[in-house]
Amino acid sequence: MNRFRLAVLAAALATALPLFALQDKEAPKQEKPKESRTAYLRRIFEKDRASYGDACRAVLSVIKNDHSDADHAAIVGDLGGRGVVNADWGLQESSLLTKGTLAYMVCQALEIKGGVTMRLFGINRRYALRECLHRRLIASGTTDEYVTGRELIDVITNATIHKEQGHTDSQYK
């Protein structure tokens, strides 16, 4: 009898195993619902720390002058092709955003060439931040300082104005 029960259990397990395997494969497909339209903006406003994913989407929106609903991989691929982000950073979508990284992205997106130092030695996050501070795209901060959600909104607003007018003076008038 015990052997019979064991055999039934084994048969049931053998039958169920492929189902479990299917469920495991299906699990990753249940991704979080895609944010659309202006919801990302309100979410960023409430965040204490902006993420790399937030910045990528916002900067691509500035470049294209249109809101982008694409997923993070596609956005990073697009930005990487334009030289706005550097693949060597190894940042994930949820990685916290620093001011240096954001400044680099903004400078590349707006094609800001910078001063003598940046032109001679090339762009890096430190010089990019100095340039953004000078142009009042970013209010203040240091290279490794994290960006808050509200700061990101202000930077993107300033970047949009800079793209239209070539400076951000109107934001401070």
Partner: protein, 269 residues
Amino acid sequence: MMRTTTVLILMAMTALAPAFAGPSAGEQEKQPDAAAKREELEATLVDFKGTVDVKRPEDKDWVAAARNMKLKKGSELCTSVASTASLLLTGNVKIDVKPLTQAKLEDLAKLGSDLNADLKLKFGSIEVDIQKGDLRSDMKVSAPNSTTSVSGSNGIVRAPATEGGCRVTLRTTTGTWRHDAAGVDRGIFGADVADNHGNQLRDFRVLAESHDFIDFFGRNRDELYEGRFAGKAADPNPWSVPFFEYANQGPTSARVKRASALPLPPGIP
């Protein structure tokens, strides 16, 4: 004696009864009249560009904006990158919502011949354009730490997401703009100020933090009030400042304001 006291108490209660009773029939008729004077209005989303979302009081979630959408009191509006929206409150009050802005229509009502509008700006910027019309339009733009009251005129109110204050840029010089922000009195409270066309701005008041300032055609407070006198000693023509109309009304005109505050211009006896 006891009976007399009881009678007196009863008489006093009878006399005071109307005071404690509810409103009379006449008063009850007056209350609906007062309520009828306040007429709730609806703003119209006359135009928009790009990605604009709206959340009306009856909506559970944000919905995409549509042309000629009616926005009643309590409606919110949010614009994305490169997106704008135009709201028409009445025929003579128009609001342009700039990109990356979230605003809420706190109040919109007609009180007799007055239009009362209250807009709460969470972040971003709006341009207010109030033309002369049948209704006397009083508009209040509230940012997290400041309030700007507008009566007539055209200007932009910006509320940076970070700082909590707001900046005001005037486009025209008529009307009244009163800007109050929680913080420090910057020393020109209540002062009458003129723009660089010589037009007087009435009741222009500033109470602002360091991040708040009022701008007249691109000049900040330092340029307006302090930097103006710096370097004037070396200036061969220090009176060619179009800002102060009292100093530029010609050598023969009578000085009506603050003549004693500054030395007289050259040529004046």
